[in-house]
Symmetry: D2
Subunit: 353 residues, 4 copies
């Protein structure tokens, strides 16, 4: 692994879920980072290789109890990879002790805590801290992330949805209330806790929607869409479960304001919009993204179609839900916060097929 001198010591709290193990995997290959603390409750005391024998040859770490003082004393940056509702009891203390914090849960994604409470419940009194949080979607909020101490990393579906929708809303090209996001995710998005409906015997060779008209990622998507449109926007969001491990495809529909726009116009607009975004790839005409292309990488592939019969635009975006949709994007944010290159240490080549 080489020399760790001069590397930034980071902590990961919640190391045993898919978010945690992705963070470990990606940070192991990051040239400027050293993992200095791996914290977990149920797995405290275990070696990381007890949980993941196949990573034992590279990752020689023991999972420690979640002791915020110890974490803060040893880490400059802390990733919180925990279920919703836990981070807001930890982040304030870590910030106070001088750590930068990247939260992968929903706790710091909302500028309006009432929205959070309405969709996630819970009783929290950390408005002052929450007000300092920046939504960690670098393609939209790069500058604010660069100076933030607290980043609320986006959900997996919102990442794919917003990267597809943003240029349209920002440029006022669509009628916002016509926006529909039909999203499809691999089952790893449901986490590593054992649930019957996520068993291979149940989920394989089947396909279905869930959380129709009430999935918690809806207000998160709407918050950013409203920000981009300059007024409140409601979005129809429907998630589906795909019989595969990783990947999200969002198929986005919206009515064009100007029926004269053709596909090539939009490809030009998207390309310009993401010119400075190394992790977004606009595909040429008639090429539509495969989730497989993104898997293992921090990339988002975007394909664009215009239907001249209906004056609708259809945008498809593909990401790896655990990388660009979770751990990779958090590291992308960290790169910005540390003043490093945005691509530093993140994988660019999917291992297709």
């Amino acid at each position: 692994m080489g020399d760790t001198q001069g590397r930034v010591p980071v902590g990961i709290i919640g190391a045993s879920g898919y978010g945690g193990v992705q963070l470990v995997r990606l940070l192991m290959d990051h040239p400027q980072i050293e993992i200095a603390y791996l914290g977990g409750d149920s797995s405290a005391g275990k070696s990381f290789s007890d949980l993941y024998p196949h990573l034992g040859h590279r990752v020689n770490l023991t999972i420690e109890p979640i002791d915020l003082d110890a974490i803060a004393s040893r880490c400059q940056v802390v990733f919180l990879s925990l279920p919703n509702g836990l981070a807001y009891n930890m982040a304030p203390k870590l910030l106070e002790k001088g750590c930068k914090v990247l939260d992968l849960s929903a706790d710091y994604r909302f500028s309006n805590l009432e929205t959070y409470k309405a969709w996630y419940g819970g009783d929290r009194n950390d408005r002052d801290v929450a007000d300092t949080a920046v939504y960690g979607l670098p393609e939209l909020y790069r500058d604010r992330i660069a100076t933030a101490n607290l980043v609320g990393c986006p959900g997996c579906y919102p990442t794919a949805s917003l990267l597809a929708l943003s240029p349209l809303l920002k440029q006022g090209l669509i009628v916002p209330e016509t926006a529909i996001v039909d999203a499809k995710s691999g089952t790893s998005g449901g986490g590593r806790a054992a649930k019957t409906h996520l068993l291979l015997a149940e989920a394989d060779n089947s396909f279905a929607a869930y959380g129709v008209a009430r999935h918690r990622h809806t207000p998160e998507i709407e918050q950013v869409c409203s920000d981009l449109a300059g007024h409140e926007v409601m979005v129809q969001f429907t998630p589906h479960l795909v019989p595969m491990v990783r990947g999200i495809l969002a198929t986005v529909y919206a009515n064009l304001r100007d029926p004269g726009l053709v596909r090539e116009d939009l490809i030009t607009i998207y390309t310009a919009f993401y010119r400075t975004s190394p992790w977004v790839r606009i595909l040429p005409g008639s090429t539509y993204p495969q989730t497989k292309w993104a898997c293992g990488t921090n990339l988002c592939y975007i394909g664009i179609e215009v239907d001249p019969r209906t004056d609708r635009v259809i945008v498809m975006s593909a990401i790896d839900n655990l990388v660009k949709g979770q751990a990779g994007q958090a590291i992308q944010c960290l790169n910005l916060m540390m003043g490093w290159e945005e691509t530093l240490g993140l994988p660019q080549l999917s291992f297709y097929p």
Copy 2:
């Protein structure tokens, strides 16, 4: 296999594709049918069990060349399970000789041959025959099918899409031009001919759209929607490939005309609409169909949701693309044409999981 006396002799032309093998499988278990002719070009002369060794213990048939005279002399009913553009050279002759014909290709799905030519090409002069064809969706055209001699069996996507959309359009509950069908299919829909993008190594663990804004099932869906609405309707249709063998889920979006309608209203309306349709199952509230539930059967499961925030209805329909979406539906039509019970000989219980 028991006694075949008194059974109706049927022919299947095109026995080696997925449509053909499904027809064989289903007709073998049909109590009123006897397979009297199995016709194929490339496989003529072979035993059916050469192609499908696992069916050899039940199916003792040899594939014969496609000889229309011989077919007509031995068969009362003929299923054409061929690529598009072949049936319209065979069906007229078979009809003339007194056979009933069920065509599984696109050739007889369109009441307007100009629409057919615009989307499928080809030069055909069988308007007189085509005018007698009935679109084989029993849930909508049961009576006409019962008296037809020529049935154009629906495509797999149109079957799922139209069963989801019909009650809404028929009752004028939605704004037709807001209808969007985001459909997802297992790869068997692509047929049994070897194509690189349908290889397991390519298609597994990936998800993508294809044919966006230009798939040939679009005009077929629109033709029936227009018929139901009483005026021309355009529908946004987007197919996707799911990494699984069988099954289609159509997720249908539309704006409600009357924002006061709630989910239970629509469940009641759908239940009434399909009261006499034994193959359509309306699910209770908050239950969404899994494609797996339908696989192996001729059933269509429909789940309904209303989003009171957006005044949209979201309808999900699940079918087995090779049964209700193809061979099973053809047999359902045949049951009607012969005056038999609509459910005769068709499987009702998926072998879940």
Copy 3:
């Protein structure tokens, strides 16, 4: 569902697992059976369609508490589909009250209760009852099953393994101690209880062995092999998990005693051995069984190869682990016990692809 008059009333105890739901599915289509009792502990009081909405249109049953008196008063036959170690507290009472009992667990598979205890633990004093149990593999013990009141249905792996091995051992064609069974199963064999390693996100796109040299199906295989060979035989058995829902393939290796035997000899011997077994299909030379061919049916496909370089025979057997490996075989046994045709009510055609 038609008339149930004159049908035999049966009970199923343990209706919510994969074994139970298969029994329900298969018995619904059995022409001589009526399901008269569906018993369960955790799910008592629920409607069957609460658990399996997609079967609600055919199965109108409520799950009742496990009350042996009530069961015996209403049922002529009882299927026990429970975890190991429960049946031996129920079967004796049900038998005493005059029921025929088919147990799908391991409890009544062993003629030697010491073997049971050594591999499964538990403290049981039902030797008298256990001594009357017949091992429910009809292809070997057809006559004994026909007169039994208590049948211990085989495990899924033993079914596939023994159907492949039996002709070789019975005829003394192999050196018994060289027998190796390398078996591969879909994940539904692990049951419906949620376990992390059976999640799609864990098990899909991966392959591994488990329980090497210590799987509990080993003594069951050995018991029958010893019976066939006429002396004690030890078999090397290794199970693997395949990223698919259903199906078992057993690849069996053994050294031939007579190196002069060729493949066609063995095909002839196997065909003769299974001549009266409608559920076993011997494949022609160079054709090897696909698990998919058997799925949904009660069939076992067997392919045979001889390697003249090594004087080994390689036999491959494919079954559906939940049908021939579990619920279907139990019904096959019931057919024998009731004097019905062995194939009655059981599916013969896989719904390939």
Copy 4:
């Protein structure tokens, strides 16, 4: 991509198959390599990103015709990734012009050309060149590879099989003629050319053996086993197709010479045997390798079990068939040939799950 100055220019002939695309992917991330020539027949003239749009942002190369003079003038090293039977017409000329050659086909795997001809056919007169070829399994032939100019890279199955078997044979721990390799591979091993049996609709949710007792990897495994044992050894080899994209698991059985050996002894022996092999990982007791752990990396995971009941050893080895089983191992060989660290530029962390 950074500076390419001082990098070694390499050519890849046969860029459009899975071997080629893996080489491109892996070499793009190799710090000492520059891809200087991408040669193909059918795809000559196309941009690499025409074939693989998702790699276009990193790989800016055009596929050129296979012109050996041009290749030799621009490349120091050439990878041949072609169907069997083509390399032996190219390698001699490239070697003559001073290139080092790594062949991924079977052409240079055999020290005895008669064995090659018996199993692969063809008429070749390059014995002089073939005699200089080294079998590219670094864990066994590290020193010879380091000084070779022509390397015949092993097949995927032989790689997994031999890494599992070698310590046993080398140390004389087993009775060689009892060795059985029951191997299972993802379907990408069948290549990217469209074949019906590799379609997702055919291969998914199924499992079967193929090439029983006659697969061409048999003599390759036997050649190395014989070399290790010091006398001719025959091995029973059976490949199977797993419904997944990537990965091979080999389950190896053999009778121990010394029944006193326990699992821990063998773990110690294997650990010592592979002490200097950074790409082989011996797992602790009771831990068996998942193919998923290796996928995307050049690693081979080995799990070991001893059955004291049968005195057999069971060894399981897991690799990525396209990396350690193909392109990655070729690069590992190149690293040795160039005097670089054996691990240089090759991925070590699977992107689990």
